[in-house]
């Protein structure tokens, strides 16, 4: 089973990301890393190929520095990497990104595509399902467990009330919830060997994509600070256990 895992290079959560004059995130320079939200799918993909054979290819689109996210995924065990980087992709929106990722998959098809639910910087959560739509393959979102049964998938899908069990043919695309797996640490050998693994760096032309097709269709016109969080409620620990339980139920945590 050949698996593709999408990997986004995002600013490190510890840092303070900078916005440029065009209100876009400054992605060059600064500290970046593999999006932690992508590591659950990566772990799932690694376990699937460990059990069923095949390879994990990690695919990323981003500035040249995004190679760090690819390297991290390779250090964790992915077999090969693809980085699409092109000056014309600066400021690419979700649709443009999906077109690029779909083109990568047309170029080298996979049985299964895994992605995070949403990126921890952009949070649109729309890229993976758009890729599935562009490729004409089924997608299941918010996946927390997967089994391969008779060449198809049996998927557990997280819902507000509990879980759906979904049967899904291959090839397919899944978005994987945080906590679905416990992402492994890379090993020292993985880190030292990552540079020896094959990585393709592609430009738009390599994918046969016209610059016009990835021109952003949306533009950020203003950015405002988030309002400070409203009051909240202080519950006295002595008397408030029941109230806290109610709040947790209300928040659908319990």
């Amino acid at each position: 089973m050949d698996v593709v895992v999408f990997a986004k290079y995002v600013p490190t959560p510890e840092g303070t990301p900078e916005l440029g004059p065009d209100h876009l995130l400054v992605r060059d320079g600064g500290d970046g890393a593999l999006d932690p939200g992508d590591t659950y799918g990566l772990e799932l993909g690694l376990r699937l190929v460990e059990a069923h054979g095949g390879e994990v290819t990690v695919v990323s689109m981003g500035p040249a520095g995004a190679i760090a996210a690819v390297q991290r995924a390779l250090a964790m065990g992915a077999h090969r990497g693809v980085l699409v980087t092109d000056p014309a992709l600066r400021g690419a929106d979700a649709l443009a990104t999906a077109r690029v990722l779909a083109a990568c998959l047309r170029r080298r098809p996979a049985d299964l595509v895994l992605a995070g639910i949403e990126s921890t910087d952009g949070y649109t959560g729309t890229v993976p399902v758009t890729v599935a739509e562009l490729l004409g393959i089924p997608s299941v979102t918010a996946v927390r467990a997967v089994e391969v049964v008779d060449g198809a998938l049996r998927v557990e899908r997280q819902t507000e009330e509990g879980a759906d069990e979904v049967a899904c043919p291959l090839p397919a695309l899944l978005t994987v919830t945080a906590g679905a797996t416990e992402p492994r640490f890379p090993s020292l050998k993985g880190i030292m060997g990552a540079k020896q693994k094959p990585v393709e760096t592609l430009a738009l032309a390599d994918l046969g994509i016209d610059v016009e097709d990835v021109r952003p269709t949306q533009r950020v016109v203003a950015v405002a600070d988030a309002p400070p969080p409203a009051g909240g409620e202080i519950v006295d620990a002595e008397v408030g256990i029941a109230r806290i339980a109610d709040l947790l139920v209300e928040a659908k945590v319990l």
Partner: protein, 392 residues
Amino acid sequence: MPSAAPDPLDLLDLDALLSEEERQVRDLARSWVRERVLPELEEWFERGVFPAREIAKELGQLGFLGMQLPDESGSPTVGPVGYGLAELELEAGDSGLRSFVSVQSALAMFAIHAFGSDEQRAEWLPPMRAGEAIGCFGLSEPDAGSDPGSMRTRARRDGGDWVLSGTKMWITNGSCADVAIVWAHTDEGIRGFVVPTDRPGVRAFDIHRKLSLRASVTSELAFDDVRLPGDAVLPGAHGLKGPLSCLNEARYGIVWGVMGAARACLDAALNYSRERIQFDRPIASFQLTQKKLADMALAVATGTLLALHLGRMKEAGRLRPEQVSVGKLNNTRAALEVARTARSILGANGITLEYPVMRHMTNLESVLTYEGTEEVHTLVVGQTLTGIRAFS
């Protein structure tokens, strides 16, 4: 134009002197310690336990055991600087954790790698690398510390066998080890033996009531006429030079490691001094506190720079034992001073396990003494300067 303001924990931007892989090795060790070890460490320290088996397996999977020694592929997983950075991050967790890795990697595995037969290497190194077998190293004795030549442990020939008798003391990993590298007098001078700890006559007693390295197994090993096959001896080691060259490897790791403990203390003191309000202002605003913080940051920066310099020399194959003594002496002393100073900034809170500083401080009292005492390393430097040996 200078870039962003310096990181207080890396005042000299030594990060820029590391390769991308070295940084990743460092980050791996740091995140593993933070996520898997620190949440439980205080509990281990308080109870005086160390879950060696479990930790060994995890360290083995990550590749930290014997990382500096050539593996099946013929080359080491990481170079001397990567190894040092890993030791630093492990000791930023706890000196006991770093001691476990040092003893396994730089003493036990190194001895087998450097002085062992092909059979000994094939039998022990792969499981030790995987963390499935734990090693320890028996040199010190109740009455032989800085003067290891005065050891009383003896091995005598009996037909084709060896018979080993004696007592080893202060043995890290002693009671949890599967294999002990034991040094003993023989008719051929001091020799090293690979002793499986399940041999009849091998007994281990843990040393209790320790006030230092509490999250570490420290034992006494007793060998009561332990019969070993003729091929249990390490063929490549003759005389004290054998064990001393192992210690030199371990000391190199300590040069780095203690800077991790010191950095953790600086970090804790810095955070505390910003948050602790006295006389209506953070204590970080007082000149005496700033002097303490500056002294600590200087010690961490210069000690780590020294470790890195020695690491690059080791990479180039020109690091001498006397220079390792300079590093061990300087950095261990400096780290202990940093820990003590950090404790003073944390005031009464500094004496609890809620903060790492006193734990590091008491650990470093051991590190100051083991692998060559402060005094012995001072005299090694003295001998290097004068050509006159002041001990022996």
